[in-house]
């Protein structure tokens, strides 16, 4: 070993240099020389300066030799028997030549790089969303082994549903030792947390003890749940998320074992999960799920979401087959409730995905590809024009013996360099778009969209972007390369120096413009359809007046409000307090308000029309409301009476039905005075008919049943308050008023009714915003493409136009000639575009469950608008053509 002599150069850098020099003739000399000079400098100028000097020189040498080795290896690979100079020299020369030729036409290079970056960036952004939401929405280890068994029925929308407690317990018992292990059920839990700060409503889940094992989630502090904690007596335990631990408990390391006040009762914190575990739906707290005697027999209430993990060596098909057998057995054992029910096992990603999401993302990706194709057509056009300009140069080179392969290689290399330059810009555009999309989505909605919180550029997206760029390079690089390959020496040399080639090439260029317009129209139509659907939903008839209404939510904990009386008292006092807040006209409360993100549905039976099988009872929207509810929402009462204070507990049970319910079940007469009931509820007399409301834009008018709050108090409450002015101005006073009733009761989702409506359409707004961005981009690129081609065609015809003018044609004739040519191209593009637009519109109708509908008038109007814009873009070149001076034109030729 060499003895150490004073200061040593940075060893990492030296190692890199050593590796880069592998194969260099002077490898040892270079390293030795550098070391020697380093030592000399360290003595004269100090070690720090010497190290910096060494780093700079070694890095430069590493890059120089590293690049040389890489290129050498590649070149040797391509042509082992290279003639005339080493293969590396030739590749380097080609690269240098391509760079120089691109630098010479800086304007065109920038235009191509920016166009390409926009096209690729848009695709990368959509791919980022597809990746986060569809391909990798969850990041747990072995996520493919996590499954969601669920109940199916032909009667349910989407044909799948959550699971009833009795079915879950039977599955768990009968499936033990089967293809799925750690079968765990979960139930939504609005946890009310009271402690050092103001009361807070935290999203939680009641989960079976095996839940964490199913998802392979391990506590960072303490433990998860034990099997015995499923018993109600032991169930006052909680596991909290890392976020809640930091926010609410100041990251107290001694939190495990401490009691916390949740829903008015003490629970012991047994564990804290790591920051990565917030499943499901960004949950912050978990408590054991226990079943009381009644629940273990409940087969009609489907409210459990079930998870499990595939046992080692078992497949999804094994699990499906086994659960199917179990479901068949249950159907035979419990024909009254389970006769129509089946069961299905899905992977976590499929099971948690929204039904409409793949269709929307498919639409976005299609739009992204359209934009990229338009961008490619534009670039191909620019490169073709440039290739045509170089016809003579290439012909001379071919005549002098240059190989055709080399010229094609150069052309492809130029395309590759353009693509390489556009990738960083495309990634920046994608990253900015994804950040914007992430920031625009309200936090309260993010939790419902699996994967949205992970939106951003990851390895998959970057890989996808590069793949997309490579495809783009092939698309737009192929045309000019083919053009050059076909170049005929004699023709080009004989030509009079005009560039642009014969009619064949112009045909290609025109075809590209036609394609751009044809692709832009469907995007415009799709964007306009999405926007008009939202507009029509937001401004159209809702059945009530959503202006100047403030809404607040509260979920009453069972421990503090264990019975109907206490719940009714809270609701009544709260409404009284809210009614006297300054600026408030009237206050009311209900279990659900229109357009809210939750709903309550019940099966009903009409007196005199009995149906034996409970599972076949008609389902209606179910509302429990206070007396002023209709007045606050300005929901019209059509006949009969509204609820009064006389409709209290113990009085005759009454109900009000919506117009559509009345028409559906009493088509020939009035329902007033008739009786109906909900499952396991008393018979109620119908006392009034009210107007319909739109709760969900998927469903439109839905039959709705209203009951007075004192006769069926709810624990989940929506307060609706009509204000004199801006509803949000009353928030602070409304909060204070409710704190008077119960200071420990958290309130959430405090927003105006307009905001509730807007949130309801958030997904459509997203679809519209993204489609509008794509459409705008497509329009811009298509119009620019047409402008470029028309300008080009005018320059090509300078001589002809000069002759025409010399022979007596006026400026107007010439302008008309150019505009007619542009109009012809546009018309062909629009004709093809219309067909594509109608097909895409039909696709959207089918994919988006009928929430949009194609409107031929809109499509036609957009086609006209696009046509006018395209002609406007051709106006400038037309004017230029008209102002050509015949003498100059003929002289220059």
């Amino acid at each position: 070993m060499t003895p150490r002599l004073g200061p040593e150069p940075p060893c990492v850098i030296e190692r890199f240099l050593d590796r880069a020099l592998a194969g260099a003739i002077y490898r040892d000399d270079i390293i030795g020389d550098l070391r020697e000079a380093f030592l000399d400098l360290a003595v004269r100028r100090g070690e720090t300066v010497a190290r910096l000097w060494y780093a700079a020189h070694a890095t430069r040498l590493t890059l120089r030799y590293g690049l040389r080795i890489t290129l050498c290896a590649r070149a040797a690979h391509y042509s082992p028997q290279a003639r005339g100079g080493t293969a590396m020299d030739r590749v380097l020369m080609d690269v240098r030549y391509a760079l120089r030729s691109l630098a010479k036409r800086r304007g065109m290079t920038v235009a191509v790089v920016v166009t390409l970056a926009l096209g690729i960036g848009a695709n990368a952004a959509v791919f980022g969303v597809v990746d986060a939401m569809l391909l990798h929405p969850f990041t747990m280890p072995d996520v493919d082994r996590i499954v969601m068994p669920m109940t199916t029925s032909p009667r349910w929308s989407g044909h799948r549903e959550t699971v009833s407690p009795a079915d879950f317990l039977d599955w768990r018992r009968q499936w033990a030792g089967g293809a799925v292990e750690h079968l765990a059920a979960t139930e939504w839990w609005d946890a009310n947390l009271v402690g050092r700060d103001e009361p807070e409503r935290v999203l939680g889940f009641h989960v079976s003890p095996d839940f964490f094992a199913a998802l392979d989630g391990r506590a960072a502090l303490g433990r998860t749940f034990l099997a015995e904690e499923e018993v109600a007596a032991n169930a006052r335990r909680v596991v909290i998320s890392d976020g809640l631990w930091r926010r609410r408990f100041g990251a107290d390391p001694a939190i495990v074992g401490q009691p916390v006040l949740i829903d008015g009762l003490q629970s012991i914190v047994v564990g804290v999960m790591p920051p990565t575990f917030t499943f499901p739906q960004l949950a912050e707290i978990w408590a054991p799920l226990s079943f009381d005697e009644k629940a273990t027999r409940n087969r009609t209430g489907h409210y459990l979401t079930v998870f499990g993990r595939l046992a080692n060596g078992r497949t999804l098909d094994d699990a499906r087959a086994q659960l199917k057998t179990i479901a068949q057995r249950l159907a035979a054992d419990h024909p009254d409730t389970n006769a129509q029910l089946g069961a299905e096992v899905m992977t976590l990603s499929r099971g948690m995905a929204d039904v409409g999401v793949p269709a929307v993302l498919g639409l976005w990706q299609a739009a992204g590809i359209f934009v990229l194709l338009i961008a490619c057509a534009n670039i191909a056009n620019l490169l073709l024009a440039r290739a045509a300009e170089r016809d003579r140069e290439i012909a001379i080179r071919l005549a002098l013996g240059s190989s055709r392969g080399r010229i094609i290689r150069e052309s492809l290399l130029e395309s590759a360099i353009l693509v390489a330059a556009s990738i960083p810009l495309a990634l920046a555009i994608a990253s900015a778009s994804l950040r914007l999309m992430h920031a625009m989505m309200p936090a309260r909605i993010v939790r419902y969209i699996a994967g949205w919180d992970r939106l951003g550029l990851d390895a998959w997206t970057v890989g996808g972007t590069i793949a997309c760029a490579a495809v783009a390079a092939l698309i737009f690089g192929a045309l000019p390369a083919m053009h050059m390959a076909r170049g005929i020496v004699a023709d080009a040399l004989k030509s009079d120096g005009r560039t642009g080639g014969g009619p064949g090439r112009q045909r290609v260029r025109r075809a590209l413009v036609v394609a751009e317009i044809a692709l832009a129209l469907p995007l415009l139509v799709a964007a306009m359809l999405s926007i008009s659907t939202i507009r029509s939903y937001l401004i159209s008839w809702q059945g009530y007046d959503p202006n100047n209404v403030l809404t607040l939510r509260a979920v009453l904990p069972e421990s503090r409000y264990p019975d109907d009386d206490s719940r009714e008292r809270f609701a009544q006092l709260a409404v009284e307090q809210l009614s006297v807040v300054a600026g408030v006209r009237q206050a009311s409360v209900g279990n659900v308000i229109p357009a809210a993100d939750s709903n309550s549905r019940r099966s009903i039976e009409i007196a005199g029309k009995p149906i034996a099988d409970v599972s076949k009872w008609p389902r209606v929207d179910y509302r429990v409301i206070s007396t002023q509810y209709f007045e606050v929402l300005r929901l019209p009462l059509l006949s009969g009476r509204t609820f009064t204070t006389a409709d209290r507990k113990g009085a005759e049970p009454v109900a009000i039905v919506s117009e559509s319910l009345a028409r559906k079940y009493w088509p020939s007469g009035s329902p007033i005075g008739e009786r109906l009931r909900i499952e396991d509820g008393p018979w109620m007399r119908v006392v009034g008919i009210c107007g319909d409301v739109v709760h969900d834009w998927f469903d439109g008018r839905v039959a709705t049943l209203y009951r007075p709050l004192p006769q069926a108090p709810a624990d989940s409450l929506f307060f609706a308050v009509r204000t004199a002015g801006d509803p949000m101005a009353a928030v602070a006073d409304a909060r204070a008023a409710l704190a008077h009733v119960d200071a420990t009761q958290p309130l959430f989702d405090i927003m105006s009714m307009r905001q509730v409506l807007s949130d309801r359409t958030i997904s459509l707004q997203y679809i519209a915003a993204v489609m509008a961005a794509f459409a705008g981009l497509a329009l811009l690129l298509a119009v620019l493409g047409l402008y470029a081609v028309m300008t080009y065609l005018v320059t090509q015809r300078v001589r002809e136009i000069g002759v025409r003018i010399a022979l007596g044609a006026t400026g107007r004739d010439v302008a008309r000639l150019t505009l007619t040519q542009a109009a012809r191209l546009t018309a062909v593009g629009l004709a093809i575009g219309l067909l594509l637009a109608i097909a895409l519109g039909r696709g959207m109708e089918a994919g988006l469950l009928g929430i949009v509908s194609t409107d031929l008038r809109v499509t036609a109007a957009l086609a006209i608008a696009l046509g006018v814009t395209a002609l406007a873009a051709s106006y400038l070149p037309a004017r230029r053509a008209a102002s050509i001076d015949p003498m100059t034109a003929l002289r220059t030729e």
């Binding site: 030795g32 070391r35 030592l39 040498l61």
Partner: protein, 111 residues
Amino acid sequence: MKAKDVYVGELEQQILLIVLRLGDDAYANPIGEMLTLTARRRVGRGALYTALERLEAKGCLRSTMGEPLPERGGRARRYFTVTAAGMRALRDSRRVLLGLWDGLESKLETS
């Protein structure tokens, strides 16, 4: 048979001249320094090694290895000497340049 003519560029000429001047002590570090000091020419290390490599390939330089030295991490120096072909290339280029200079000195001084 007449030896093949070798053409050397300006940097290569300067390097050959410096190697001649340095005599027995001609290795990369002093060659680089002298290029900077005497020829007032800043040449990157990479370019210097490439030029040395090229001159050796052309047969203008020959190299021999010295003893391993501790200050070089146990690596030896590569000493260069100008070969006969190198001398011939220098002579040729000098003759060409002097021929071109001939009669122009006075013009250069007055301008």
